[in-house]
Amino acid sequence: MKTDRIPRVLVAKIGLDGHNRGAQVVAYGLRDTGMEVVYTGIRQSAAAVARTAVEEAVDVIGISSMVGAHIAIMKKLRKELDALNASDIPVILGGIIPEEDYDPLRALGVGAIFPPGAEVSEMVKYIQRIVQSDAWVSEVPGTLAGRRLEELHLVGSRCEGCNRVFFPVRRNCPFCLGDRPPQRVSLSDEGTLQTFVVASMAPPGYTVPHVQGYIDLLDQGPRIFSLLTDYGDGSSFRIGCRMGLKVVRLGRDEANRVVVGYRFRPLQTP
């Protein structure tokens, strides 16, 4: 199975366990298949691993355990991931794991276990399947982010020099034109309607009525041009009315990824 999206994998060892040869073999092996691998090295805390997984936005966490502490460290890791609201990141385990521990480990959310003798290619297949089933691509590049389809939100760029915020994500600031790339920031999923149109004509490929608007995102966010949706007969539109983000699925691309787009819909005013 092939995927256009490059999987990001965290390979980590937690606690007093210096047997790092296996973890390194896996890390290099995954890297050599083209995955992005973050390797923590030995003697990490569960909290640090969970934090790294979130900060690096990895698709999967691979834990190596050789000294029999696997159930204890999985309990800790689970707690830390839950605390970071990141319980959905799949965890896989490799090392010396007795078969009688497989069930309790699965109960702790371990997705797959790779004992001694397992081939790196098995791990590659497993990881690609994880990425594939949930892989998505944005209709407009650099506009949506989130690890899972259910959690997508708008993203933009904030220039640290002039503090301007841009949408979609940019590689530079067109005002400062400095060498520091702008910082990627999450944007509000609500805004106010600046103006709108309900057109009785549309370019080929779009349905009529063709309904669009400019939304000024909350918190001084940028102005976004968007198709509007869920507007009933259109009578609820008022300049200044509150609008909310709606992420819509538009189908799948050639690589079987879900194509997602952003739309805005009127929010009920209380």
């Binding site: 209709e139 407009v140 590049p141 301007r164 841009f166 979609p168 067109p174 005002f175 600046q194 103006t195 709108f196 149109v197 309900v198 057109a199 009785s200 004509m201 549309a202 370019p203 080929p204 490929g205 779009y206 063709h210 669009q212 608007g213 400019y214 000024d216 102005r223 041009f225 968007s226 198709l227 300049i239 787009g261």
Partner: protein, 386 residues
């Protein structure tokens, strides 16, 4: 930079010419302009040809300028293809001016030509919608009538413009177009007819929109001596400024205001001195906020300007005496140069039934194109001075 002058100007009538090719359309205006200029065509040192959509309408994507000038017999010299959406013609004008002003050439040809009408309206609309960032805003389905409708609605909300005021601009431009033999629409309309015509993109109705059409325009830019030799009132290029989208924030002046300000500065004139203007009324009501952005009146005062008939022929500052894009038509690449032609004719007293009396001495042209990052992608403002 030395002074530059507009020499001969010419255009075809705008309309639907399914049987005429781009090169056939451009031939007449090119040679009319050459003959009027009283120059030796061998002295043309550089040519700029504006066209926006031939690649998508006729399939002639590359070397359009060379193909068009091949028919006209202009060869060997530098020939530059110019594409800046609906401001392609103005961009060719800007470049021709720069070539002469910088001393690179004494005599430069600017041509604008477009065939937008084809049997398939969807194809024409799709071609127009490519004047946006296809990967970003283009994914939302760009319809220019819709973009303008949103701006007009925002303006109505802020300043209380009425639908009647929007319609009056269409009435005025149709009145002017009725006097212009080059205009695609020569019928007059009433406020009621405009408001009752089919709704395209509320508040924009059918009679407020410009037609799809074909046409060409051409002119020569040269030196003061050449202009004097013509024996007509010399028309100097006071300013030609080209500006682009600027990630403009809502509290900043729009692209049109920004470019106009630079043009006034370059020409050393104030908005109050402008006596005639051709502006980019792709839908008629756009004219109203252009009055404000170009400094013809203060913010929110444009409704009163149209009510008081200030911009009608006979008013203090007639706008779009040609009929504007609304009535004269809008074959994208030809539009900018046709606007320049109208101002030149007004200044020379050659505007026929729509002539302003006495002939004006300072005129302004505003021409826009495309949409990028939430605003017009390119705006050109030229100021011509007798």
């Amino acid at each position: 930079m030395r002074e530059t002058y507009v020499l001969g100007v010419s255009m075809t009538p705008f309309g639907k010419f399914p049987d005429r090719t781009l090169q056939e359309l451009a031939y007449g205006p090119i040679w009319d302009a050459i003959q009027e200029s009283m120059i030796d065509p061998h002295d043309i040192r550089i040519a700029f040809v504006g066209n926006a959509y031939a690649g998508l309408i006729t399939g002639q994507e590359s070397v359009r300028a060379q193909v068009i000038l091949r028919e006209a017999g202009i060869s060997r010299i530098p020939i530059i293809n110019v594409e800046n959406a609906c401001a392609s013609g103005s961009t060719a004008f800007y470049l021709a001016h720069q070539a002469v002003a910088s001393g690179q050439a004494d005599l430069a040809l600017a041509v604008g030509v477009e065939k937008l009408f084809c049997d398939d309206t969807g194809r024409s609309l799709k071609a127009l919608s490519t004047s946006s960032d296809l990967e970003i805003e283009g994914r939302m389905g760009i319809l220019f009538a819709g973009i303008y409708a949103m701006r007009v609605r925002g303006h109505m909300h802020r300043y209380g413009l009425t639908r009647e005021q929007l319609a009056k601009v269409a009435v005025k431009n149709h009145d002017h177009g009725a006097l212009n033999p080059h205009a695609q629409y020569r019928n007059r309309v009433t406020v009621e007819e405009v408001l009752q015509s089919r709704m395209i993109a509320d508040p924009i109705t059918l009679f407020m929109t410009c037609p799809l059409g074909d046409g060409a325009a051409a002119l020569l830019i040269g030196t003061k001596e050449m202009a004097t030799r013509m024996g007509k009132r010399p028309v100097q290029v006071g300013a030609t400024v080209l500006g682009s989208f600027g990630f403009t924030r809502k509290d900043e002046p729009s692209i049109a205001a920004r470019v106009a300000r630079a043009a006034y500065e370059e020409a050393g004139v104030t908005p109050k001195q402008i006596q005639v203007a051709e502006v980019h009324d792709a839908v008629a009501p756009v004219e109203l906020f252009l009055y404000e952005e170009l400094g013809f009146c203060g913010p929110g005062e444009s409704g009163r300007m149209i009510d008081e008939r200030t911009t009608w022929l006979g008013g203090r500052l007639p706008v779009n005496t040609s009929g504007g894009l609304t009535a004269k038509g809008h074959p994208a690449g030809a539009t900018g140069l046709s606007q320049v032609a109208e101002i030149v004719w007004q200044i020379r007293g050659e505007a026929g039934e729509r002539q302003i009396k006495p002939a004006p001495s300072i005129g302004l042209i505003e021409n826009g194109g495309g949409n990028v990052a939430g605003e017009t992608a390119v705006v050109a403002v030229h100021i011509l001075v007798a």
